[in-house]
Amino acid sequence: MPEDIKSEDIDAIKEILNIGIGRSAQMLNCFTKSHITLSIPEVRIFDTENLKKGNEKYLDEESAAVRLEFMGIFSGITAVAFPKDSVAKLVMAMTGEAAGTPELDSLRIETLKEVGNIIINGVMGSISNILKTHLNYAIPYYEEGSIIDMIKAEKKIYDNKVLMAMACFTIKDLNVEGNIFMLLELGSLEILIENINKI
């Protein structure tokens, strides 16, 4: 963890994210065939300059992600990424598909887009509600690749710190660990933490 971020700040972020993701789980349970629980057991902040391939294994694995760009008093990208080899099973469990090959085809990607959208909206809604700030959003979209490549492919000037939250998704007999990551524009992380500390 970078030295200038206090552990209390991380705890506060974790709490806000857990409120948001709780809302997302509630929403998902309105229409999925099996009960879902969602939680964020861990939040970490990485220094992007020090992020190298192989350092954190889960950042290298092939992921299926839904991402949303936002602008406001703090700006950046929030994305939810699931390991590509388990996400098809997750989608199948949610839609109640009993049989078939768990492959992430176009139709299942559409479903994943909605699931990811609900998770991100829960998180972003929670942040903007608690901080009482309005954010503007772009249209969410789907992408594939490793989290590390997604972070490194960004062309805008982002803060060198990336906020990474582990999201545990449990449905039926399936446990899938996804990741929510927030890539903030230069200075935005300080603004976010400053605003959290004002609460």
């Binding site: 929403m27 090959t101 479903t111 809604g125 959003y137 249209i139 969410p140």
Partner: protein, 368 residues
């Protein structure tokens, strides 16, 4: 500016567009949506979304639409998890598969929500057809894998029975040969004659067992070829026949083969001895040419008639009048082995035109 003026450009879009105001009233929908729904804009304009589509009052829709109207992030709704936001039918009467994205939008001073409806019906059809095809292919593949496993299992079982049978029959043959050899010495001519026939039959039975065992090894073995001494191979092949009238090439040659190569000489020399007179002469020659060694095994025995020659390498084919012994598998094995080593095989008379033309079988081996 009216909503129609604001969203006029969406008339050109290949997606359905519906706009609702902060009171959840429909203020615009484009021509494509008119076509898909069969409802003209004038019929539904300023009517409540919930009145037209009561299922949207459910929290999973209403809450998310409300968040968008408050300026929250866009919301995505797909047909896979729940009913479509605006249920639409295809000409066939089936529900149109859709993804609806609801976006916040500022229309002047007013906050509205824009619903963009993509038709995924064709995509769904294609994906379902693809899934069906893929699942069938996987089922077929798994069935094939299972069938192959069953073949291997059955083959192992057959080999086990064959091993047991070969072993037991070989033991019995040994006993029969031993006792018949004793009886051959009998002063009773009839006993002696019948005993000789029993010995020949027992010998033929042993040949069959050996040939079957060689063919099995030949079918199973896929070991890579290795360089080896041709002289050593010949000596190993003919050693079982004891002292015979054999003339062999001078020097030595290195050839590419495996441990089944001696079987060629076991069979060819064995045939010469079996069908020839007691004083039969056998010669083995070897010549080097480019990257091959040409090997010939010749004798001065009775030979094989020209009409039978083309067939002698086939399984269970034997020369006419050759009832003495033999399984009919010897030359078949020789041909299989020669081909295994990448060579060619041919058969000819050793002394054409003679009463006893003899037989020469030539084959090639790759140089080591």
């Amino acid at each position: 500016m009216t909503a129609e003026e604001y969203f006029k450009i969406t008339e050109l879009f290949p997606v359905g567009v519906c706009v609702i105001d902060s009171d959840y009233r429909i203020i615009f929908w484009n021509r494509l949506l008119e076509d898909w729904s069969g409802k003209r804009l004038k019929e539904i304009q300023f009517r409540s979304l919930f009145e037209l589509y009561p299922h949207l009052s459910e929290i999973m829709y209403s809450q998310r639409i409300a968040d968008v109207l408050k300026g929250g992030p866009p919301a995505i709704f797909t047909s896979q998890l729940h009913n479509s936001v605006i249920p639409l039918l295809l000409a066939s009467g089936e529900p149109r598969i859709q993804t609806t994205t609801i976006l916040p939008f500022r229309m002047g001073d007013e906050s509205v929500a824009v619903m963009v409806i993509e038709d995924l019906s064709e995509l769904k059809k294609e994906v379902l057809a693809y899934r069906k095809m893929k699942d069938s292919a996987i089922i077929a593949l798994n069935e094939r894998i299972e069938a192959e496993k069953e073949v291997i299992r059955a083959n192992d079982e057959a080999n086990l029975y064959l091993d047991i049978m070969s072993h037991d029959i070989a033991n019995i043959n040994m006993l029969v040969s031993g006792y018949s050899a004793l009886l051959e010495e009998s002063p009773d001519k009839m006993v002696s004659t019948y005993s000789k026939r029993i010995s020949i039959a027992a010998s033929r039975s042993s040949d069959i067992i050996n040939s079957v065992s060689t063919i099995r090894k030949l079918m199973e073995k896929k070991a890579p070829l290795e360089p080896m001494s041709l002289k050593d191979v010949v000596l190993s092949g003919v050693s079982q026949y004891g002292a015979i009238n054999l003339e062999m090439f001078d020097g030595d040659f290195t050839v590419m083969a495996d441990d089944l190569l001696p079987e060629i000489f076991v069979n060819l020399v064995g045939n010469s001895l079996k069908y020839g007179e007691k004083d039969i002469r056998i010669s083995i020659t070897a010549k080097s040419a480019e990257d091959i060694i040409s090997v010939c095994v010749s004798d001065n025995g009775p030979g094989i008639s020209d009409e039978i020659k083309p067939e002698v390498f086939e399984r269970f084919k034997r020369g006419k009048g050759r009832a003495e012994a033999g399984s009919g598998l010897g030359l078949y094995i020789v041909k299989m082995l020669a081909e295994r080593y990448g060579g060619e095989i041919n058969i000819k008379d050793s002394y054409p035109g003679r009463k006893m033309p003899g037989l020469t079988i030539c084959f090639t081996l790759k140089k080591g």
